[in-house]
């Protein structure tokens, strides 16, 4: 079963709007949650991440909100730009020194000018 779930599968917003991408997980032991951004023809690249001890992480226009009790997090992209059009993957790290990340299926964001 999918341990990390993302919704919606695809999202279209207008330039300047806030895009909200959702993620939920099953394993309460997950302790690190990175978001990766992928443009067509390229590999994913780390965008922003959060540890489970925090409830919010900001980096410019990108903000993660984290709710540990509900096992949910969301990525907010403020003032969306056409250049933000990409696929966004939420991931979760297995605790300990295992070196493993579990990825969600991704949300494809289209920002219309």
């Amino acid at each position: 079963q999918q341990q990390v779930r993302q919704s919606p599968q695809s999202l279209t917003v207008w330039e300047g709007e806030t895009a909200i991408l959702n993620c939920s997980y099953e394993n309460s032991a997950f302790d690190y949650f990175p978001w990766y951004q992928q443009f067509p023809g390229e590999g994913p690249a780390l965008l922003i991440s959060i540890l489970s001890v925090s409830d919010k992480k900001e980096d410019g226009r990108f903000t993660i909100f984290f709710n540990k009790r509900e096992k949910k997090l969301s990525l907010h992209i403020a003032d969306s730009q056409p250049g933000d059009s990409a696929t966004y993957f939420c991931a979760a790290s297995v605790p300990g020194n295992t070196g493993k990340l579990i990825f969600g299926l991704g949300t494809t964001l289209q920002v219309q000018p």
């Binding site: 690190y32 990175p34 994913p44 780390l46 070196g99 990825f103 299926l105």
Partner: protein, 113 residues
Amino acid sequence: EAAVTQSPRNKVTVTGGNVTLSCRQTNSHNYMYWYRQDTGHGLRLIHYSYGAGNLQIGDVPDGYKATRTTQEDFFLLLELASPSQTSLYFCASSPRTSNERLFFGHGTKLSVL
């Protein structure tokens, strides 16, 4: 910026064929990973390694072998390729564990006819 180079970028083979995908990173990272990316399945971990000579099994290892010959080089081997292995393959590296930033290559598109 960490560099991860994959080769070839595209590969076509026939069922039963023998394929080797190559990955080299030049940043002295300890961890290297092989993922496959498929529509509807996201990114799935095949094998990973935390140093030369080390190999760890990922989540979808069946039909794949891997070998880490040096700190820099990690190979993925498909000895009897099947159509189900048609996919986009990504190599990644990270300094220590998955709790650190993963640097992905540009991917290898493999088609098994």
